[in-house]
C-alpha cells in the first residue's frame, strides 16, 4: 500500500479514550473487534456519539456505514445519551405474565416516560430488556445495574423518586 495510514487521533483528551484504545490494541485493531470496541465506548461514555463512531471507524478501518449499521442493529448500543440513572424493566415471558406491562404503564403515567425515554430533568431513563434470565423472580427490574426481583409499583416509585430527588 502506497498511502500510509496514520492512526487517527482520539476525539478529545478524555482519559476514557485510553480504555477504548486498549480494547482495540488488545484485538490487534482488527475489524472483527468492532462490536467489542463499541461495547467499550458505550461502557465508558454511556452512549455512542458521532465523533466516537468516526473514531472507531477510522481506527479499525471499518467503513462508516458498517459502523452505523452495527451500532443500530444491536439493542444494547444507544446513540443518545442516557439519563443519570437507568431503570431497566424486563419484558421476558415470565415477567410479562407477572406484571411488567402494568409497571410500564405505571411509569408512563406517573413519570411521562416510555421505553427508551428519559425524564425531562435528565435523571432517569426507562429501558426494557428481553429477558434478563431472572424469570423466577418476575417481574424483575435492573436499577443502575442492580437487579431486583418481584418488584412492586411502590418499590419502583421509591427508587425512581429517590433518584429524581437527588
Amino acid at each position: 500500500m502506497i498511502a500510509t495510514i496514520t492512526k487517527p487521533e482520539a476525539p478529545s483528551d478524555d482519559k476514557r479514550w485510553k480504555i477504548v484504545q486498549a480494547t482495540m490494541r488488545r484485538n490487534g485493531y482488527s475489524r472483527n473487534a468492532l462490536i467489542e470496541t463499541l461495547h467499550t465506548v458505550q461502557n465508558s461514555f454511556g452512549y455512542l456519539d458521532e465523533p466516537a463512531l468516526r473514531y472507531v471507524a477510522a481506527s479499525l478501518r471499518v467503513p462508516l456505514s458498517n459502523v452505523y449499521g452495527v451500532a443500530t442493529f444491536y439493542h444494547l448500543f444507544t446513540l443518545k445519551p442516557q439519563g443519570e440513572h437507568t431503570c431497566v424493566l424486563c419484558t421476558g415471558t415470565a415477567c410479562y405474565i407477572k406484571g411488567t406491562p402494568e409497571l410500564l404503564q405505571h411509569v408512563e403515567e406517573r413519570y411521562g416516560i416510555r421505553d427508551g425515554e428519559t425524564t425531562e430533568d435528565g435523571k432517569v431513563s426507562l429501558l426494557t430488556a428481553r429477558c434478563i434470565g431472572a424469570c423466577s423472580m418476575a417481574p424483575a427490574v435492573v436499577f443502575d445495574g442492580e437487579m431486583e426481583g418481584e418488584v412492586t409499583q411502590e418499590q419502583l416509585d421509591e427508587q425512581v423518586e429517590a433518584w429524581m430527588a437527588s
Binding site: I35, F77, C131, C135
Partner: protein, 567 residues
C-alpha cells in the same frame, strides 16, 4: 497437566474439604444474588470469624445455583458425617434466608443444630424427581474455584480424552450417547461433530452459543454462573474431537456475572495448562476467547452468530453451506449450545452408553428446564427425557399457586407453542413436543393459569419476533409486523373473520418462506394457540359484522354522510 497431577489436585482439594467440618454453602447465582445472598455470605463469614473457636470447622462459601430460585436466597449446611450412626454427611437446606438469619444459621451450624423455621425440606419431588448431569455440580462447588471443579472429577474427561482416546474415540462416544442439540433444534450432536471433523481445513473453530435469548429461559445462565469450567472442558474436548484449536464463547452481555466467572475460569484453566499449547503433553493446542453479544435474539441463529463474532450485523445468511463446512472466517465451525457442551464431560467420563441409557428411544439423556410463570416452585430443574409434563408441573413444580387452575405450558419461547391441559401426560421429548405443535426449545417452560389470555400470549411472542427480526428477508420483516398488527386488532376485539383468515395465511407464508429459524418459527406461538384455543380467537372477533360488508349497515346513521350521488 498430566493425569497424575490432576488426581493430585483433586485429592488435595478433597482433603481440604474433608478437614472442614461444617460447610455453609450460600447460593450466589443471579437469582439469589439479587436478593443479596452475597452480602449474607459475607455476614456469615465475619460472624463465624467473630465466634472464633466456637465456630471451628465452619467454612462459608459461595456456590452456584441450587435450583429452587423461588425460595431463595438458599443456603445449605453440610454437617459432618456421623460415622457412628452410619450417616452420610447430612445436609440442611434453608430457604428465604435474610440478613437477619445469617448469624443464627452460623451458630446453629457450629453447634450442630438447625434453624427449624427456615428449613427447606429436600425430600420433596422437586429434588427427588430430578436427574442431574449438566447441573451435577451446581450448588455444590464454588464456581470460582477450579480446584473445586477438579475435586468433583472435573477435567478428568478432558485429560482422559487427550491421553487415552483418539479424536475418533471421542466422536464415537458422543455419537452413541444419542445426544442432540440442546439449543432447541435437536440436531444429533455426534453427526454435527463428525461433519466438522471430516472437513479438511487448515483451521477450524468451536463456538459455544451462550446467547440465551428466549424470553423465559435462564438455564444457560445458571450453568455458566454455577459451573463455568464445565463449558471450558466440554469445548476443549469438542476441539480435540473435531480438530479445532481456537474457540469462542458468545455470551450475552446481559449476563455480567456469567461473563466474570467465565473470564476467571479461562484464566484458571490457562494457569493449570488445561488451555493453551501442548495440552497433556500432546500436540493439541486450544484457546478460548469470549465474545459479548449486544442484544440481538437472532444471533442465536448459527450464521447470524458467526456474523456477530466477526464484528458485523448479526444477520443470517442462507444455508447451505452450513457452518460445519463454511463457518467462522470461512472455516469449518462447530457451534454448540451451552447445555450440549456441558453434557460432554459427563459423556466422556461415563461413556456414551451411560447417557443413552437415560431417556426415550430418540431423545437421550436429560434436559434442563427453567420453570417460571404461575407455578409454586419456580426455578431450574434437570429431568430425564421422557418425563411427563404432568410430573413436571404438579410433582416437581408443585402445581399452580393461589388455588389457580392450570391452563397451558409454553415451551420453546417465541419459536415454540402452548400445550394445553389435556396433553399433560405427554412425554417430554423432541418428537412428542413437535407433534403437539411446540418444540423442546432451549428449555424455557412458562406455566399459565386461567388468567392468561392466549391471544395475548401469541401477541406477546409476535411482538418479540417483530422486534427481533433482523429485517433481511421479506417474509419475516414484513410478515411479523403484519401479524402483530392483526393480533393487536384481535386483542382490541376489532378484528373480523377475514383478519383471522389473513393471520392464518401469513403464518403459512412466513413459516415456509423465511430465511432463518427466527422467521420460520415465528408463527408457532400463533399456530399452537389457534390449534388449542381457537375459541379464544373467535371470541376476540368483532361482534356480528363480517368482513365483506354484507348486508349493508344503516348508512343514514353515519353523521355527515349526505346521501348524494357525486361530489
Amino acid at each position: 497437566m498430566t493425569p497424575e497431577e490432576l488426581i493430585q489436585i483433586a485429592e488435595e482439594r478433597r482433603g481440604q474439604q474433608a478437614a472442614v467440618g461444617k460447610r455453609i454453602n450460600v447460593c450466589a447465582a443471579a437469582s439469589c444474588m439479587s436478593r443479596h445472598s452475597d452480602k449474607i455470605a459475607e455476614e456469615m463469614s465475619s460472624h463465624a470469624e467473630s465466634l472464633g473457636d466456637k465456630a471451628e470447622g465452619v467454612e462459608v462459601r459461595c456456590v452456584g445455583c441450587m435450583g429452587l430460585c423461588s425460595a431463595g436466597p438458599l443456603v445449605e449446611v453440610d454437617h459432618p458425617a456421623d460415622e457412628a450412626a452410619g450417616n452420610d454427611a447430612p445436609k440442611t437446606m434453608y430457604r428465604g434466608v435474610s440478613m437477619d438469619d445469617a448469624d443464627r444459621i452460623v451458630e446453629a451450624a457450629a453447634g450442630g443444630t438447625t434453624v427449624e423455621q427456615l428449613v427447606q425440606p429436600t425430600d420433596i419431588p422437586y429434588f427427588s424427581r430430578q436427574k442431574r448431569i449438566v447441573t451435577e455440580n451446581s450448588g455444590y462447588i464454588d464456581p470460582e474455584s477450579i480446584e473445586d471443579y477438579i475435586a468433583a472429577d472435573g477435567y478428568s474427561g478432558l485429560v482422559t480424552a487427550l491421553t487415552e482416546m483418539s479424536p475418533n474415540d471421542v466422536l464415537h462416544e458422543v455419537t452413541i450417547s444419542g445426544l442432540r442439540g440442546r439449543g432447541g433444534g435437536g440436531f444429533p450432536t455426534g453427526l454435527k461433530w463428525s461433519t466438522v471433523a471430516k472437513t479438511d481445513a487448515d483451521k477450524k473453530y468451536v463456538v459455544c452459543n451462550a446467547d440465551e435469548g428466549d424470553p423465559g429461559a435462564f438455564m444457560d445462565r445458571a450453568v455458566l454462573e454455577s459451573d463455568p469450567h464445565r463449558i471450558i472442558e466440554g469445548m476443549t474436548i469438542a476441539g480435540y474431537a473435531v480438530g479445532a484449536s481456537k474457540a469462542y464463547i458468545y455470551v450475552r452481555a446481559e449476563y455480567p456475572l456469567a461473563i466474570a466467572r467465565l473470564k476467571k475460569a479461562i484464566r484458571q484453566a490457562q494457569k493449570y495448562e488445561l488451555l493453551g499449547t501442548n495440552l497433556c503433553d500432546t500436540p493439541f493446542n486450544f484457546e478460548i476467547e469470549l465474545r459479548l453479544g449486544a442484544g440481538a435474539f437472532v444471533c442465536g441463529e448459527e450464521t447470524a452468530l458467526i456474523a456477530s463474532i466477526e464484528g458485523r450485523r448479526g444477520v443470517p445468511r442462507p444455508r447451505p453451506p452450513f457452518p460445519a463446512s463454511y463457518g467462522l472466517y470461512g472455516k469449518p465451525t462447530l457451534i454448540n449450545n451451552v447445555e450440549t457442551l456441558a453434557t460432554i464431560p459427563w459423556i466422556v467420563r461415563n461413556g456414551g452408553d451411560a447417557l443413552a441409557s437415560i431417556g426415550t428411544a430418540k431423545s437421550k439423556g436429560t434436559k434442563v428446564f427453567a420453570l417460571a410463570g404461575k407455578i409454586v416452585n419456580n426455578g431450574l430443574i434437570e429431568v430425564p427425557m421422557g418425563i411427563s409434563l404432568r410430573e413436571i408441573v404438579y410433582d416437581i413444580g408443585d402445581g399452580i399457586p393461589d388455588g389457580g387452575t392450570f391452563k397451558a405450558v409454553q415451551t420453546g419461547g417465541p419459536s415454540g407453542g402452548c400445550v394445553p391441559g389435556n396433553l399433560l401426560d405427554m412425554p417430554v421429548d423432541y418428537e412428542s413436543l413437535q407433534e403437539a405443535g411446540t418444540i423442546m426449545g432451549s428449555g424455557g417452560m412458562i406455566i399459565m393459569d386461567e388468567a392468561s389470555n392466549m391471544v395475548d400470549v401469541a401477541r406477546f411472542f409476535m411482538e418479540f419476533c417483530k422486534d427481533e427480526s433482523c429485517g433481511k428477508c421479506t417474509p419475516c420483516r414484513v410478515g411479523t409486523a403484519q401479524m402483530l398488527d392483526l393480533l393487536e386488532k384481535l386483542c382490541a376485539k376489532s378484528a373480523t373473520e377475514k383478519d383471522l383468515e389473513l393471520l392464518k395465511e401469513l403464518c403459512d407464508v412466513v413459516k415456509a418462506c423465511s430465511l432463518c429459524g427466527l422467521g420460520q418459527t415465528a408463527p408457532n406461538p400463533v399456530l399452537s394457540t389457534l390449534r388449542y384455543f381457537e375459541d379464544e380467537y373467535m371470541g376476540s372477533l368483532v361482534g356480528g359484522v363480517s368482513g365483506d360488508g354484507r348486508p349493508v349497515p344503516d348508512v343514514e346513521t353515519k353523521a355527515g354522510a349526505p346521501d348524494r350521488i357525486e361530489r
